[in-house]
Symmetry: D2
Subunit: 302 residues, 4 copies
Amino acid sequence: MDKILFEKIAEEVKPFFGKGKVADYIPELKRVDPNQFGVSLVNVDGTEVNFGDYKTDFSIQSISKIFSLIMVFSKVGKELWNRVGKEPSGNPFNSLIQLEHENGFPRNPFINAGALVVTDLLVSNSSKPKNEFLSFIRNLAGNEDIYFNKRVATSERETGFRNAALANLMKSFGNIHNDIDQLLDVYYSQCSIEMTCNDLAKAAICLANGGKILDSQAVLSLSQAKRINAIMMLCGLYDESGDFAYRVGLPAKSGVGGGIVAIYPGKFSISVWHPELSRYGNSVVGMKFLEQFTTYTDLSIF
Amino acid sequence: MDKILFEKIAEEVKPFFGKGKVADYIPELKRVDPNQFGVSLVNVDGTEVNFGDYKTDFSIQSISKIFSLIMVFSKVGKELWNRVGKEPSGNPFNSLIQLEHENGFPRNPFINAGALVVTDLLVSNSSKPKNEFLSFIRNLAGNEDIYFNKRVATSERETGFRNAALANLMKSFGNIHNDIDQLLDVYYSQCSIEMTCNDLAKAAICLANGGKILDSQAVLSLSQAKRINAIMMLCGLYDESGDFAYRVGLPAKSGVGGGIVAIYPGKFSISVWHPELSRYGNSVVGMKFLEQFTTYTDLSIF
Amino acid sequence: MDKILFEKIAEEVKPFFGKGKVADYIPELKRVDPNQFGVSLVNVDGTEVNFGDYKTDFSIQSISKIFSLIMVFSKVGKELWNRVGKEPSGNPFNSLIQLEHENGFPRNPFINAGALVVTDLLVSNSSKPKNEFLSFIRNLAGNEDIYFNKRVATSERETGFRNAALANLMKSFGNIHNDIDQLLDVYYSQCSIEMTCNDLAKAAICLANGGKILDSQAVLSLSQAKRINAIMMLCGLYDESGDFAYRVGLPAKSGVGGGIVAIYPGKFSISVWHPELSRYGNSVVGMKFLEQFTTYTDLSIF
Amino acid sequence: MDKILFEKIAEEVKPFFGKGKVADYIPELKRVDPNQFGVSLVNVDGTEVNFGDYKTDFSIQSISKIFSLIMVFSKVGKELWNRVGKEPSGNPFNSLIQLEHENGFPRNPFINAGALVVTDLLVSNSSKPKNEFLSFIRNLAGNEDIYFNKRVATSERETGFRNAALANLMKSFGNIHNDIDQLLDVYYSQCSIEMTCNDLAKAAICLANGGKILDSQAVLSLSQAKRINAIMMLCGLYDESGDFAYRVGLPAKSGVGGGIVAIYPGKFSISVWHPELSRYGNSVVGMKFLEQFTTYTDLSIF
């Protein structure tokens, strides 16, 4: 696979520009230029293939959920699963219904409720959770130049009544241990992190590389890396996870900033970014690019 | 009807002492002596029949929802129904499910979500909502000696994550307009009010007396009073409203402090208090007393 | 109250003609002339006030649920409540959700699931359930000239997959005892019965008259009659029961044929008919007529 | 991998015998000897590794859902997805709730509702659906000696009120086209098929082998085979799919007869059988065997 293939597919996905809708629930996200498109593939040997706006920062949003999961899983191990499940949620939206029905135990770490529990564990296990999380991501990506976007974090917090509802409901069931205001502050900071496609692909390479980052430092065991991939496969693209598995066939995680990062175990990680979203919250052009990519290369895991 | 009937029925309900369970979710309520039992009936002409501990203060809890409803209905009129419904909720517990399914529009003013909206309207229409509410209740009951219990209010607030979840969820739908912390402060203060059976029966007489309190001052129109009775009939006893209508046949409202106040339109209000609750949150002995009372006197509205 | 009042109100409700929609799920109902309107009030002393098309037959549909309830309650007594509840359903449509959540125990006898259980009890307690039910209704109304409409019954059965789903689901929980085909045959026959406003008011007079029909024969005890009124009050108009209680203030039951029958305990029953329905399935003009009627006469029970 | 590994793992899973519970909802299944255990692995080159009771017939139950899906997908292609989804259901039991909420469109072909739609398409596209299905399976497995078990089929039909409810509900939404009695007859016949572990592994090899069966005949395209694997990965083990993906990491499908068949794309299919089930309906010993197998061999797809 090389840059020529990326160029060919980039041409093929052009008709999909304009089919989705830029996230508009906060002003900061709405302001993004929808014509930006980047791809970055990083092999486990450190070689790269890049395309388009792969050096432009964007808001990683829910993709941060993989990084907090990696960090907390490596810190607390299996006991994590006493606080959050590993099953798909099967719910068309970010819902309180299932959470209430299942007594405050979220179905998986990639729905907001589950990610809040993961962040709660991070807060419980860290004296300066925000700093520590940022350092962790910088280390994963091998790039010190990664930051929170305070305006995005503040903006999300001011409108995030549903997340506050989720956190309070789980606290009523005893499944949030820290102060809710602090928890939401850390959570929204995580979501507000800005990275490039290339940063993202590098930061996720540990999942393709048996738990090791590019400089060979192990952040997870092989078994832990495989298990996070399994959860991404089943739950990584909201209520479009099944469709993504069907069309693309790789474990992946998306964010409403328009990024998607996917993993081919043992080989590479690939990150795509285009800001326009499907009604399920995933980048339309990004999904299409990955579909074409695995079709041409036959590199799905199925 | 006279005191002899009350004594007879009080004897008959004795076997039901111990069948329920004192509310234990906050220490203040748990500490109540479960052997207290009081009844007070106030006729529209001002005459009274009383029994037992009818002069003992107890926590009115959700019974406060009638008084905030009366106050807000008299202030804002029908526009209230743009913010909250009048249909039974049909849900076995104080649930977020229906609220989410129905986009943050609570089914009626007697479930917590609906009462929070009523309190939100109270806050929007009052410069000192807590003071004004307390004055309103004192005027209804003709008793200046009624107070909030700060320890109860504080205690409920510290454990009230589910109510915070409800308020946040409704705010995410735009159906809460004020600051959530202020809203919950007013709400828990209302619930913490302490009154006697006699206070309660007097404060509710306006609903039996076409909107007028005992000194003939009108707080509601006849039509408004009838309408509040209709809502109490359908929704006043949580998920036991149907059973209460079937067995007792009077509009009523209960609270987890063990109080119940019921209305016979045109004739009287009657208040009973015994702290032990059914699994639905209503006083077991109180319900039984009222059942026997309407059976002997044939004074149900059906 | 007299015919002049009826004429006055009939004039006032004219602007509401055309606001609702005739039931169209089966051809037979769809064909009804929407300009027909009738009212019949029957006092417990047998005197009557009638208006308009009060002698025209129409399909009583769900109003039959009161008559099957009366018949089965008088046959089996309280044990009925081991099979069906008395609480409002609080669900915007005729739903399987609550039924599944509550293990096949329907919330009340006026939702379809509950009425199917009542009919199942009728089948279990009768050798010729259809004949016996028809005789029972004829006796209540004092009119031998009342029949099933076979085309309506057949038509409903052929399209009634949701009722078949409800019956099968309850059977999976053990709460239907008879063969489902037979059960649905009896059920749809009941719904297909045609009566006039005057028949309906007479047939329901037992609920206003302490359980006795006009010739003084008791079909229910006083207590049983009151209790059916209580259930009608809370659950009689589908998911518009609260609004009807608020606006009209009488126990009542409606059907998608456009009929409504309401009770003033101790005084009268009143039946109205106009075929155009609100989105909840109740006659728009009928509800408005009853609202004006209780407003002018002050004859609500609240 | 060889027989010695199978023997080693078989020893390790012995402590899990007796931990699950044999399916008891029909007498035929309940009667099975719980001490039987078999494994069969078939490579795409036709070589095999077998262990234990791999030649004993058992009831394949829901594993039949892969075979009807393969048959119908190959017949009707993508239009299948207009009738059934590809998303996980996220529901702890075989529920009507989601189906009603989503207007009769089942989430995926492996929940009962979705499998009923697949069978409905099979009936619509076949003159003798039962015969044709049996021939199709025999061809997949390369074994003419495979049969329906009529007693099992009859038994399931007589107690299958929930499936009848599902079918009726979907028919009320227009998503079942054939007669419900015929549909259920075909459906229960499919479930009643009896096969050995070896039959199952052979019949599923087409999913590991790019759509081809062992004699090289193509029953699916490569792309179709991959896509069925994707759906199995996300939805194959009821509400334990996430846990299975986490622990085992292979696309698979289970049945309440105690069988599980799993696929390693490009390499092999493996079938295990032990009749005792977890509370989610999957073979406890079977799952444990596969977990150890992918742990020792590192042959998960993640």
